[in-house]
């Protein structure tokens, strides 16, 4: 009996600690939501206020009215959508090629792609800008999209999954006379569907948040995505924190929603970054 009491005590203690941790971790997020409903005076009141006295939906309306928020939002959706689409199109194709075929140059390609995982984006920022500038792509959608059409990590993730597709399936289809492209689209892709969802999530997370490249590769307002839009907003309206937070809630929401909806797959995907299952 005392032993089970001790265990119960431990469980309760553990729950209290976990709960405290959860509240601590969520504090900044909750503060953002709360501040997005406050008036400017409430935010600036030195008497620290946790909750707004009433829900000021007006902040959200003002965010859309005061700056090009709709534009940033649709730019973000379009650019991110296109990048996710291109990654889904190319990564499995290359992964398939690396996993199931043998040709001259394959090992070099593989080594090189692996090595690019280690290259920080900042280190090639300037030449990349020069290339995009040379192509006349500065301040265009293709300039924001094409440099992210593939990722080394995505290609490797696909390779790892496709390697586990049995060769027998592919050979059986070949014997039955299926064309190679048909094999790819009708056998390989359906078999790795879960991996494709994982890939889509990872690419979405990375591109929704891309900052430095958008900052460098856009000029003026028309092509800015949400992160840059928000940063510029902060420069323009230094003290309108309530609007900043309302905009932040809108910018953060899509990713949180995707995460909550696809939680398990999402976490698996993030853990999959380590190449572990």
């Amino acid at each position: 009996m005392p032993r089970s009491m001790a265990r119960l005590f431990m469980v309760v203690l553990g729950q209290i600690a976990l709960l405290a941790g959860a509240i601590l971790i969520m504090t900044p997020v909750l503060y953002m939501v709360s501040a997005s409903f406050m008036t400017n005076d409430e935010i600036f009141s030195t008497r620290f206020q946790i909750l707004p006295s009433n829900l000021n939906w007006g902040n959200y309306i003002e965010v859309f009215a005061r700056f090009n928020f709709m534009r940033y939002l649709s730019n973000s959706v379009f650019v991110t959508g296109a990048i996710v689409f291109l990654n889904l199109l190319f990564s499995p194709m290359i992964g398939y090629s690396l996993a199931k075929f043998d040709y001259p140059g394959k090992n070099i390609l593989m080594l090189f792609i692996l090595a690019t995982v280690m290259v920080p984006f900042t280190a090639i920022l300037i030449p990349l800008f020069l290339i995009v500038r040379g192509l006349g792509w500065v301040n265009t959608y293709q300039g924001l999209i094409v440099p992210f059409a593939m990722s080394a990590f995505g290609v490797f993730l696909m390779r790892q999954f496709i390697i586990s597709v049995p060769d027998d399936y592919l050979d059986a289809a070949r014997i039955d006379g299926a064309g190679e492209f048909r094999i790819y689209f009708q056998i390989v892709l359906p078999l790795i569907q879960p991996a494709l969802i994982t890939l889509a999530i990872i690419v979405f997370v990375a591109s929704w948040d891309e900052f430095l490249w958008v900052l460098v590769a856009t000029a003026g307002d028309t092509l800015r995505t949400l992160p840059i839009g928000l940063a510029k907003f902060r420069e323009q309206y230094q003290t309108r924190f309530e609007l900043m937070m309302a905009g932040s809630v809108i910018a953060a929401a899509p990713m949180v929603v995707v995460f909550l909806a696809l939680q398990r797959r999402f976490l698996q995907g993030m853990a999959g970054l380590s190449g572990l299952k």
């Binding site: 900044p28 600036f44 030195t46 290359i94 043998d102 280190a123 949400l226 992160p227 902060r234 900043m244």
Partner: protein, 314 residues
């Protein structure tokens, strides 16, 4: 020619195969061609957007170039200037300070949380979800939130300090607190991803080991020390390499919260490269800094691989 006609034709075929490589009409050659066709986009893409830029970085670093004028060849002058540039040396130092200030706590906290989440307890999935939330908040948004939290008038830190009788705490305006401010928000945001990676690593350890250890009378601490941690070594290596690269890449929080200041207290390498390249339009100088940046990360990666492989062998 010797041998039967059949042998001859076989020899003939293999000769052709060898000579014609990927051009023949055999299944092997067809498959080779096909593999290349599927890989072609990768050759083009990684060639154009990774390999070429890598060379280009080095090439441009040999010039003085303001983007709008003609490039002037300088040789290695940009590099010798960098090594005497106090701002650059400071940036390297600040990057190291920031990166290790962020990643070392992250390793411990993430591993600790992973060990907790590796057990079963009521509400585990719900807690995991909540603990992961900071990782899915956009970094720009995250930085803006902390801009509020660090505000000297109403920010939570200054308010708490005032409650404790310390007045005038200005986290972002004081060189001695600006860097810790950046580090705190980065640890907060960065930990969950590595926690999840550690959890996956812990899950991959077969239960048999623990069962066998239990039969031998090992306690929890011994299990952790002699089973879990050694078997987690590859995951450690991965987490170390990736977290350090990620930390060195940092840009957004500095851009939003401090713009590298106060003074140069938070001017990390990315900020240095961005400012020199795109604000002062010194393409060559910024490229030289990029090359050094790349070399630093390469050296760090090699050290880590050596370190962990050495441990594995002993």
């Amino acid at each position: 020619m010797f041998g039967t006609p059949q042998e001859q034709s076989l020899r003939h075929q293999s000769f052709h195969q060898r000579r014609r490589g990927i051009l023949g009409n055999t299944l092997e050659a067809r498959k080779k061609r096909l593999g290349l066709v599927f890989a072609l986009p990768a050759f083009l893409f990684f060639g154009a957007f990774y390999l070429y830029p890598l060379f280009q970085t080095f090439y441009v670093s040999l010039f003085s170039w303001g983007l709008l004028d003609d490039p002037k060849f300088l040789g290695m002058t940009n590099y010798s200037r960098l090594f005497t540039d106090k701002e650059f040396i400071n940036s390297v130092w600040v990057s190291f300070l920031y990166s290790f200030g962020v990643v070392i706590p992250i390793w411990f906290i993430a591993l600790g949380l992973a060990l907790i989440f590796n057990r079963t307890f009521p509400g585990r999935q719900a807690y995991l979800t909540v603990y992961y939330i900071p990782a899915v908040i956009s970094l720009t948004v995250w930085s803006l939130i902390w801009l509020l939290m660090y505000n000297p008038t109403f920010g939570i830190f200054s308010v708490a300090a005032r409650a404790l009788g310390i007045t005038g705490l200005r986290m972002l305006d004081d060189p001695s607190t600006a860097m810790p401010a950046m580090i705190i928000l980065s640890i907060w945001k960065g930990t969950p991803v590595y926690m999840v990676i550690f959890i996956a690593g812990l899950r991959a350890i077969p239960n048999d080991y623990y069962e066998a250890a239990q039969i031998d009378g090992a306690n929890a601490a011994q299990c952790l020390l002699y089973i879990t941690l050694p078997l987690l070594r590859p995951v450690f290596l991965y987490v170390m390499v990736i977290s350090i690269i990620e930390a060195f890449k940092v840009f957004t929080p500095m851009y939003i919260l401090t713009n590298g200041g106060p003074g140069s207290a938070t001017r990390v390498l990315s900020m240095f490269i961005f400012q020199n390249g795109f604000q002062y339009l010194k393409m060559g100088y910024a490229s030289a800094a990029s090359v050094i940046f790349l070399l630093i990360l390469l050296a760090l990666a090699i050290i880590q691989f050596r370190l962990l492989r050495f441990q594995q062998n002993d």
